[in-house]
Subunit: 135 residues, 6 copies
């Protein structure tokens, strides 16, 4: 049996793609306009998937309010209306590509989620670019 | 080779979450406003996925009209504009959580679908909450 | 100059269409399956538009947080997860068609909104059926 | 006769809401987390509407490729992947609220568009907050 | 009082943009790849708006099932899965631009709709290009 | 570790479903109105997924610009505004069902994509019918 429940959330943030140990020219060459030193930003749309067994007593896989609160604490509060490079410690030494942001979110949720659940994170940077990370 | 064809459908229904063997207080504590005794409702959006081999003669995995008719008979006609708790026998002794509704739909379609196909059901209760069940 | 700012919101509710002074047969004839005595329900999606002058000091037409809170108080709290026919006094003697729900919402917001603003309400009953009411 | 043709476009940008002549405390009080000095950002979705008469020879109101190129030159190239406060001269002395951004876009397009057309600009800052400006 | 109810519908069709009295070169110059002599096609999404007074007896502006059936007869049946240039008489001498298709749809619906209603037609040729025609 | 990055794209095309070796009656019986000899068409929406390891130096799984250009060359340029049956050699002897189009796209991209990546193709023929092919 395979059952997954999904919850959507979102946050807005500024970021830039770059490596401190590269010159501005190298950053521009590799990351293009995404390396703009003055930053740009996105409306990030998030879909968190939790897989597991249904609880026969309640008919819930997980209480969706718990999942909503967990996403609020671990993602929306620390990331929303923030500059990811400057204000979110996870990205102090990690380039905030959509791939890395998805993995950071997965790790944050994973350590708070009961081990009986599997976890997936889909993150949209724009409506046309998105990633799926399943650990 | 892995090929899946999907068909979307929808139905509107009233429901409430509760267990008859629990007090109203207990139902409210566990299910919150979803246990409202006067019911609330949703526009359920459904995505049915059928996996299998392509028929080299037609280029079809399955005739999508057959799939559409099957969903109409097994889901839309029995569920649309209904009170799930009162009017749909599948939920007489089963709490109509989105998880349970998805599993009921999967079971209804599974027994009508040729065994050479695999089946998945994604069901949106709201644009932000949805489940995927693959049997 | 014509400037309007919009805020989206949503609520889930059960309802039925019927007139108490009509027989069940007449209700069924006019309102079809929407008159189901056991109720059905929808995810109502709401777009509230507020028109007016921009405040040159802030660059705001209206503080969107104020508008969000107003919608929360006047629409989401009284309507969400409710049975509109039974639990919302506005519909005690008013058939909760999508037209009437939109007008009730407009009236509720209008009396709380400063007279220097114009108001519009778009209400989706399903993704395919919706109304616009501008007073 | 009233005919309007619409073209969608988008751009990503960083911004903050604030007035230089206010203290940080006043900015925070009025603009909340939108005044974050390190910036945040959005995927701005734009709908440009051009109204006028149909050309009976071509059946076009306007050549949509011309409109697409105009939006590219006047909006996407100057705004995309930029910090609106720092890098877009229009906002040097103008708070980049969604209201003001829409009016700036309207003015940029208006002066390039033949006077036989009317113009409207709808700008989404998030899927839930958007404005319509018609001049 | 201003109240409008909207109904969405869709149809798929092939078309090309061209004038018989122009050379292929002129057609290509003006209509670009849309003039491909072998045709291309679209999923046309349609929003029909009907404005008028609410019927105090039913709470309906118009019975949405009537509107749905009217759109089926006047638009979906004659246009769906058709080649607009060859198979739809309205375009025998009229270039099937999105502007002209919207006006044809408006005229077809207008002559069937009671004069107490106003009518608007929004037609999406792609998610990025669409028109609004209000007569 | 499982990480996938997705890029959306679209193309418009005309097609018909039929087999040359069948009579018109047989084609109509099996393919219904999709076998219309004058063609119909769609806005095809495409989601290409590329799975693999993250590059620790850049934080990229793949440079999304490379993926975008690959889709442009292999799908958008050869398919957009085309008649698939007549103008795209891949369908000279292959019925352009949505299943077959997805497999053709997968094969075109697969032979251009480094073998260290896995590939998936989701193709929407309409918002309600779509397929997923993973090779």
């Amino acid at each position: 049996m395979s059952l997954t429940i999904y919850r959507k959330a979102h946050f807005n943030a500024a970021h830039r793609l770059y490596r401190e140990d590269w010159t501005d020219e190298k950053n521009l060459e590799i990351f293009g306009k995404c390396s703009n030193p003055h930053y740009h930003g996105h409306n990030y749309e998030l879909e968190v998937g939790v897989s597991g067994e249904i609880d026969p007593e309640t008919g819930y896989l997980i209480d969706i309010k718990e999942l909503k609160d967990l996403i609020l604490e671990e993602v929306e509060e620390p990331f929303d209306h923030k500059n990811l490079n400057i204000e979110v410690a996870d990205f102090k030494n990690l380039n905030p590509t959509v791939e890395n942001i998805a993995m950071v979110i997965w790790n944050r949720l994973r350590k708070r989620l009961d081990t009986r659940y599997d976890l997936s994170v889909k993150l949209f940077e724009t409506p046309r670019n998105f990633v799926l990370y399943t650990g």
